[in-house]
């Protein structure tokens, strides 16, 4: 099983915060990583013949924005990347998986995450005259707190 060996190698070689086969939280294997570990982790996956990136999901885990990289090879494997609220960036995967370009642009536009190394000039999904916050971005917690104090 390619996914299985990839999962084991990830656990062994990376600085994994948390890894689970199937813990009720998600129905597929998942590995939690920091943003700077994304590229080496994907290299490990590719060397284990896991090359199909199904999707990139941006989701809020409590207050933190988390990016889920759904890989698939017979079964699923999800890399869960915590995007730091302050730095707010990840490295682009397009250098090793060119097919990730549209997913990453979508994340960049919808969540305002900076994808380092990806050309995001111009709009891809949002209208040209779009102004304001990226639509999927939920209000930053600090902001909400201040507003509440004001009231």
């Amino acid at each position: 099983m390619t996914i299985h060996s990839a999962f084991q190698e990830l656990e062994k070689r990376m600085n994994v915060t948390y890894a689970a086969e199937n813990d009720g939280g998600l129905n597929e294997k998942q590995v939690v990583l920091q943003a700077e570990e994304l590229l080496p982790a994907v290299q490990i996956l590719l060397s284990n013949n896991v090359y199909h990136l199904s999707a990139i999901t941006g989701v809020y885990d409590k207050e933190h924005l988390v990016l889920l990289y759904h890989f698939w090879q017979g079964e699923g494997l999800t890399l869960r990347i915590v995007v730091d609220g302050k730095a707010n960036y990840v490295d682009t995967l397009t250098v090793i998986i060119p097919g990730a370009a549209f997913y990453e642009r979508e994340i960049a536009e919808m969540f305002g995450v900076e994808i380092r190394g990806l050309n995001t000039s111009g709009k891809m999904f949002l209208p040209d005259n779009w102004e304001g916050e990226p639509p999927m971005r939920k209000d930053k917690p600090e902001k909400t707190k201040i507003q509440m104090e004001d009231e």
């Binding site: 009720g24 939280g25 998600l26 129905n27 597929e28 090359y51 199909h52 990136l53 199904s54 999707a55 999901t57 941006g58 989701v59 809020y60 889920l68 759904h70 698939w72 017979g74 079964e75 699923g76 999800t78 998986i97 060119p98 097919g99 990730a100 370009a101 549209f102 997913y103 919808m110 111009g122 709009k123 891809m124 999904f125 949002l126 209208p127 639509p135 999927m136």
Partner: protein
Amino acid sequence: MSRITIPIGPQHPLLKEPLSFNITLEGEKVMDSALRLGYVHRGLEKLAESRSFIQNITLFERVCGICSHIHTTTYCQAVEGLLDLELPRRGVYIRMLLCELERIHSHLLWLGVLAKNIGLNTVFMYAWRDREIVLDLMEEISGGRVSHAINKIGGVRKDLTQEQITKLYSNLPILLKRVHELLNIVENDRSFMARTRGIGYLSKEDVRRYCVVGPVARASGISMDLRKDSPYALYDELSFEVVTMDEGDVWARSLVRIYETIEAIRLCEQIVEKLPAGEIAATAKRKVPTGEFISRSEAPRGEVIYYVKSDGSQSPARVKVRTPTLTALITLPQQLNGLQMADVSTVIAGVDLCIACADR
């Protein structure tokens, strides 16, 4: 030679949906192409967060009008996974039946569009005439030609009656015969082959690098079909073949799709034969527990993936939809480079775009 940039879209007869495609030509040769999505972007994922789990079925039915059933199926599978619900077998079989009927409808529709784009209007008419048989069957079963609204969380809404089964038995062989006629055209017609062979080539390696799915990947020799590789619903109880070809051009994609249509007709027959008795839907709890679920299925165009996250409230905290068209779109510039202007329509039709899916 001077270069000329022509805008294709948002309104263009080649595209049924708005999409902006700027093609730079040198004479008749395509030198460059730039893509702009977002004309059909409605913000469905955001909208889903403000609607309840049940309302969202209606919403996701309208991600795309062509493969509406597979979207609700995948969404319902995710919610059922969150609820940890055991589905009655009869309900799942009816779901699969509609999935396969929809595959036939989608592939025939696609063949018509391709034929129209290369100037074979007659084949367009024939393919769409035969497609009406499937639409009638789907209308008979679900009540809707295009949107079926038959899925619900826990199963399906409507049962198959004996009358409908008889109708399926009598109409599927007719359809099979018609599809074989169309196959004959695609396989043997010289003018069809002249316009499709060697056009829009994607190698096996390209397919891997771009993460392409569905018939486009299978036409390049990659056997990837979620119904076989990680069977969802009850596909492991049915026997069918995954069609692959090695040519990797539009012609191979046409053949793959038509053979898949034939497989889908066989699958429909199997489903009706094996249709188990019993309930069609399980009762689902109102409250969806906290959790995340990834649901994948094989739409007519390839892998669809739904990610649903629930925080225990009335509506989902996040729904992510990734549709197969998005993977195919990214390969278009590579497929088009160096081709003739006249081939642009063939290539665009060949990957079977569904912009509504891609934009959401």
